[in-house]
Every structure is written in structure tokens, then in C-alpha cells.
Symmetry: C2
């Protein structure tokens, strides 16, 4: 009996229309990555497990897809261990490879293994799928693309300046106006924690502060108190709860708030450098905004933190993010290589462009010309013209069977093919074709040369 086909949970097929739309976004991003001097690399889909395990925390380890060893994978498992029937303990014995969880750790491995052929600073981009054993839900998939650009080997803040410009350039090309590039700096968050005497509570503090939008000032304060942050501390950071005005205003507030923290002041100066440069250089359509509540990736970012939000009329989480991480390659034995990078959220950008109807019409164009098929002689006559059209890159095809004309016309209609070409014995005798414009219904008698001209 035939098998009922199914697709694995949390994964997707992409139809021709979806592939074209995704490629439009990806190729726009890649084009800008390249004009900004980033070079493409690719790493394998799976890595040796020890390259990935332990790099993303316990939750990450759990979400990494493990690949079962090939052949008799139990032959090397000793009986004592096997008899415990403990999945956790057994995993590393029967699985040595795992699917890529992100592009950052494989990149770090790449840099270390290729250090002799790389000229630092190394600017690389990478657009490849990653896999996570997350519970699938609306908008969250087990296979999805990451689009990353990173620079390693330089601590220069010009990189951060360029990343702001890069976000602006990409979203401007995608005609997505009104995005906000939010920036913060890990050192500012550390400085705040230091100033309020809660250095050990940095994570609790920022997690609570991050909720300001959702639960309001009172809610945030309640949570901070519950986490053991003192009333006195809250009074000190009161300015953060009504943190408005221009970026300059915000930087000035931070300067007075953090004047006793060396680290905090360093963060303020870093952000200030970036914001001044951007003010001078200008952005096309994006807005750069200092957001002191921004705390993504606090586990690994050590300097700048970026996050991009969609235009406010669209309800959507962040569509991009990134930051600076010192010592990216330290885990693999190459010390003192600072990195900074950003990422584009392909799936979300797709949804935003869809919602705002921003995909250009050309993206959806597939076959432009369909030659109808009236039999062997006619088909061979058509293939000669078809060959010439294809030589000038016109997407064109012939209906493969000499089916009823109505069926062939229906096919052209369903596929939204704009031009149909007919050639019967009359046309063949006159060395012509009948060209039909499917939108207007107009028909023309044309030579091969006129045909090429009309459709290209």
C-alpha cells in the first residue's frame, strides 16, 4: 500500500513563489555584505559534537540535534553503561556528530583552523541554515536560515559604525522604511549594576529592566525588589525609568548616572563615538536609538549590543541583532581575537515585507513566454525560436504535449505567464509566429526577431 507522505515537524517546504521571495531578501543582504567588504564562507551542516556541546548553555545542549553513529553504533558501548538505560549518558557513546546550532561557533572553529591563511581583520559573511530541536510553534521552526556578518581581529569601533550603516543600507534597499536600530553596551549595564551596588545581580537587573515596555515602571521595580535589589538602588537608577529625549540627552544622563563607574563610563564613551559618527555620516531611512533596556545576548556580548525593530505599524519581534564579543575563538585555543557581528532574521523580514506588500513584482515573475504545442512539426519549429529567446535570457518554455488548445491556454493562465506564442501551418509557411499578450488579449503576427524584441 502506498505510504501517506508527511513532512517532519517544525520544517517547511518552500514553493517556487516562496523561494523567489526568500532569495530576493537573501540576495539583497548578500549584495550589501559584499559592498561592505565581507567575504563569504561556508561550514558543514554537521560538526563533531564536542565542537558544539557546552557552547550554548544547558538549554542549548538540549536543543542541538544529534546524529546517530552509522553502522553498529552499540558495539562500542560497554554493558555496564548500557544497562543503566540512561539516554543522557548513552548519547555521547552513540552519537559523535551534531547539526549546526548557529553560525557563530562554527565560524570560531573556522577562524582557528584556518588562522594561517586568514589575514586579520577578517570580515566574513555566512548565510546557511541552522537547526534547533525547539518545540515548533507559529513562527518558530526547527530549520531556519541565519544571515550573519562578523569581523574578527579588530577592536576598532568603526566596525560598529559600519554595522549601523549596513543595517540601514539593507533595509533601505528592501524598501522597508522606518526601522529602528537600537543600541546599548554591555559596559553600561555593568556600570549601572556597579553603581547601585548590585554587581552580582546584573542579569536579574537587566532582565527586569527589559520588561519596562510590558509591565511598566511599577512592575519592573517590584520585580527588582523581589530579586533583592535595594530601595536605595532603585532611587539611584530612577532616571532609567523615564529615559527619553535625543541620544545626546540620554548619553548625558548616563554620564551623570555612571560617573563613579569606570566601566560604565567606557561604555558611554563607546556608544557616544558610534552615535556621533553616525550623526555625521547620516542614515538613509533607519533611526538609531540608544536603548538602555536592551540586554540581548548578555551571556556573551562584552561591548556593543544591537537590535533592529520593524516599523512600529507592524507587530513583530526584532528583525535583526548582534553585538561585540571579546575572545570569540578562545574556546578553541586562539586568544585575544575580538569579534563583532550582526544577524538578519530572514523569516521575520519575510513576514514584514509580506504584510507591508513590499515584494517587487519582478520577484514573482517566472516563465515569460509559453509556446503552445500543436504537434511534432510545429513543436520543432517553435523550439528553434525558443532557443533564441533563451539565449537572451528570456525565461520561456513549450507545452510538452499537443494537448487541446484550451488546456494549454488554461495552463498559461494558471501560471500567470504573460505571453503565449502559437505557430500552426500558416505561421510556419510565412516564417512567423502569433504572439498573444495574455493581459491585454492583443495578438500580433511577428517574425522571430520581432518576437524577441517584443518580449524582452
Amino acid at each position: 500500500m502506498a505510504q501517506k507522505p508527511s513532512i517532519a515537524k517544525g520544517t517547511r517546504d518552500f514553493t517556487p513563489e516562496e523561494v523567489s521571495k526568500r532569495n530576493y531578501i537573501i540576495s539583497t543582504i548578500k549584495r550589501h555584505f559584499e559592498t561592505f567588504g565581507f567575504l563569504p564562507i561556508e561550514t558543514p551542516s554537521f560538526e563533531n559534537s564536542d565542537t558544539l556541546m557546552g557552547k550554548y548553555g544547558d538549554e542549548g545542549d538540549r536543543l542541538i540535534f544529534k546524529i546517530l553513529n552509522s553502522g553498529d553504533f552499540l558495539s562500542k558501548v560497554d554493558n555496564a553503561l548500557y544497562e543503566k538505560k540512561d539516554a543522557n549518558a548513552l548519547t555521547s557513546k552513540i552519537s559523535e556528530k551534531a547539526l549546526r546550532y548557529d553560525l557563530t561557533v562554527p565560524f570560531a572553529r573556522y577562524v582557528v583552523m584556518h588562522q594561517n591563511e586568514i589575514d586579520l581583520p577578517f570580515k566574513r559573511y555566512q548565510v546557511q541554515p541552522v537547526w534547533r530541536a525547539d518545540r515548533p510553534q507559529k513562527g518558530r521552526f526547527r530549520e531556519f536560515y541565519q544571515c550573519d556578518a562578523d569581523v574578527v581581529g579588530s577592536k576598532s569601533l568603526w566596525q560598529e559604525v559600519e554595522f549601523v550603516q549596513l543595517y540601514d543600507a539593507v533595509f533601505n534597499s528592501l524598501k522597508l522604511e522606518g526601522i529602528t536600530i537600537k543600541m546599548n553596551n554591555r559596559k553600561i549595564l555593568s556600570g549601572i549594576a556597579e553603581v547601585i551596588g548590585a554587581k552580582d545581580k546584573l542579569i536579574d537587573f537587566t532582565v527586569a529592566l527589559d520588561k519596562l515596555d510590558k509591565i511598566g515602571e511599577d512592575g519592573v521595580k517590584r520585580e527588582m525588589l523581589e530579586k533583592g535589589i535595594s530601595e536605595e538602588a532603585l532611587t539611584k537608577v530612577q532616571p532609567l525609568f523615564s529615559f527619553t529625549g535625543s541620544n545626546t540627552d540620554k548619553l548625558n544622563s548616563l554620564r551623570s548616572l555612571l560617573e563613579t563607574s569606570e566601566e560604565g563610563m567606557k561604555g558611554v564613551e563607546e556608544l557616544s563615538f558610534i552615535m556621533e559618527a553616525i550623526a555625521t555620516l547620516g542614515l538613509k531611512t533607519a533611526t538609531l536609538d540608544l536603548d538602555v533596556t536592551l540586554a540581548r545576548g548578555l551571556n556573551y556580548y562584552t561591548g556593543a549590543i544591537f537590535e533592529v525593530s520593524a516599523p512600529s505599524e507592524v507587530k513583530m519581534g526584532s528583525i535583526g541583532g548582534g553585538g561585540r564579543y571579546d575572545d570569540l575563538t578562545g574556546i578553541f585555543g586562539l586568544k585575544d581575537v575580538s569579534g563583532v557581528g550582526i544577524s538578519f532574521g530572514l523569516d521575520r523580514i519575510y513576514l514584514v515585507l509580506e504584510e507591508l506588500n513590499l515584494f517587487p513584482e519582478e520577484v514573482l515573475e517566472s516563465t515569460k513566454v509559453l509556446f503552445l504545442n500543436f504537434g511534432e512539426t510545429e513543436a520543432l519549429y517553435c523550439l528553434k525560436a525558443l532557443k533564441k529567446l533563451r539565449e537572451v535570457d528570456v525565461k520561456s518554455e513549450m507545452y510538452p504535449d499537443d494537448a487541446k488548445m484550451k488546456k494549454q491556454m488554461n495552463f498559461a493562465n494558471k501560471r500567470n505567464i504573460p505571453f503565449v506564442v502559437l505557430a500552426g501551418s500558416k505561421e510556419i509557411q510565412e516564417e512567423k509566429f502569433t504572439l498573444k499578450n495574455m493581459k491585454t488579449g492583443e495578438q500580433f503576427e511577428v517574425t522571430t526577431e520581432e518576437l524577441i524584441e517584443k518580449v524582452s
Copy 2:
């Protein structure tokens, strides 16, 4: 202690140069797929195991990479089974997903699951990686790309004609002249087996015949006799051992050899139709050759069989292949959908282009302009021009740190960057830049506009 990084056996990192070269091949193939009216689809990297298992024979099943279930994967394994410690029996209990082994079975699944939105005939292309747990060796990898184009839903032989043209168009664009497109037909092989009264020995017969190049006529005959094919049969097929001349000559020989086999004659007529059409339409640089020893994919091909060989001066196996398979989607419950498709062997095409030095120089061009960095003021001044260069798609970057000039120039040299731009206080005052051509050593004083003109 830091971990020594390693890459999984049989997988590869691709450097920027390699990615660019691979993309050159892939984008050439895709461009022609599209001008021939093929539409892109993508399917997930992993499928439910039952979609893949049993589709590629026992050897295939063994080579499929299985993914370990997440979480406590042993909890549902009953103790009696577990205690047997039998890897084979355990696999399906602890693994429900597997990595894609080729693009054809996922495509069949796609067609069946999307049948209501697809207009037949459906021409799709797909360029994605596949994975096989093969023993890695020179030129054989565990992760590699397949580049496939298939048409389903039509038995028309015009498809075969178009595939010959497609191969010719792609390899012509890649400037790879002198390839041979070899064709055969499963029905001809069956006809031969029928005529010699060895219908049940079709596989043995073709396997032996396929070795004609390697072991010669005597060797082939010896092997056939060993497999139980009679002396009398060998006399009948004697013409096959000196099968030369034009395709027309070969077709005529086959017509007399196979006149008593209805199936065989059908194969001859099919091939004859395709060869006559191609003779009328002409090929740019490829040669079409009837090769009666060609027997690839005999398990699944039911009509045309294609194989492409590299120019004879290059020692390399086939660089492409394909064929017609009736009932592709039958395994998933959709009957009577005939398919025909071809594939390009990316890795081998890469090696051939490399050996013949056919990668165009532009493919290797990365950053075109490097701005040197002499400090904050100078850098900001440069970034203004850099922004304008990037707006006209010139790949350009600034050295991020104000390192010693020699170090920055070295970087430009090592990276083969053709233009370097310098701006010190003198240039800034005059609103100019010094542009250095790194090949000729020439230097020019230019305005921003002149700079753009000179490098783009």
C-alpha cells in the same frame, strides 16, 4: 584547557575563494534552469525516516544519516527490545528523522503533498546539499550539493530534447567545450536482453557490457558467459562490441538487432526522435552520442538515460546524469506521474574548471578599494566617500585600526585589493583623496566623484 578544533570527517569548510567559484557554477546552472522554465523549490534538510527508508535499497538505507530523537529517547523503548542490544532493531525506536539522501525522493513527496497547488506538467529545479554516510575518500564527501532539474506529469519526449539542450547551454556558458552527452534507453537494454533470451539477466548483461572500455571485448564476453549468458546469445549481440559510426548508423544497427523486440524497437524510436530533433536544432559545443553500454540507474530509469562526460583531455568520471522514471510519485500514492530529470555534479565540474583554468577572473574579485586609516578625523572623512562608493555597488572597506601604514599596505597586498585610498590632513584640506593603483603603482589626486569614476 582550550579544545583543539576539528572538522567532522568527510565534510568541508569552503573559503571565500571556494565559495565564489562554487557560486559561479551554481548561478550559471540556475540561470539556465530558469530560462528553460524550471521553477525553484526547497525541501527540508531532514525528513521523517519513513519518507526516506526503503527508497534507495539496503545499501542506501545504511548510508542514510539518522537523527537521534530529542530528550529522553529511551523512555519509550520497551525493556525486552532494549536488552537485545541490537543497533538495527533499536534505530527506528530512538530515531524518527533522517538527513536528505538525494533530492528526488523529497521532490516526489513534495509533488504529492502539494498536488492541489501544482499545475502539471511541473518543471522544478532544486540545488541543495545532501548527506551520505559513505566512507570518505578523495573526491567523495559526506555532505555535497546536488543540482537537479526534473519535469513531472508529461511523457513527451520534447523534455528529453530540452534536457540535451540544457546541458549544452550550461556547459557552453561555463566555457567547458568538448563535453559529450551520452544517451541510451532502458527499453533498448531490455530489448537486447529479450532478443538474446536472457530477459532475467538484464542486470548481469548490462553490468558486463558497461565494462567494455575497461576489460575489452574478450573480458566482457567471459563475464557474460560466467553469468550464464549463452554463446549463441553472444553471437547475436556481436554488433554491440564494435558499435561505432554516427548516431544514425548506430540506430540502424539497433533496428536490425532488435526487430523482433517490441520494447527494444520502442526504445530505438524514442532515441531516434530525440537525436533527429537535436540534429535539426543543433548544439553549441556539446556532442550527443548514443552509448549502448550506458546503464546508470537501471533500478529506476524506465526510458531515456543520460550521462555527461568531461572533455577527453580531463580524467574525470561523469559530470552529470539523469533519465526518465515512470511513476515517480507512486510510492506516495499518486499514480501515473511520469518524470524525467537531470543532475549536474557540482564538485566534479569544479575540479574540471579548476584543471582547465576556466574560472573567470571576476569570480575571484573581492574587495576592490581599501581606505587606509590614519586616525579618527581621517577615518570619518574616508567613511563619507566609502558610503558613496558602496551606493554604486563598489566592494570597498576601510582598514579598521590606525595601524602602521606598512601593515595596512601589506593587508591590501595579501588580499589582492587593486586600489588603495589615502587621505591625510593635506587631502582633507583640499577635499581630495590619493588613489593608488596597486598593480601599476600609479598614484592620483582625485575628488570623490573622480574616485568613483576611476574605480567603478
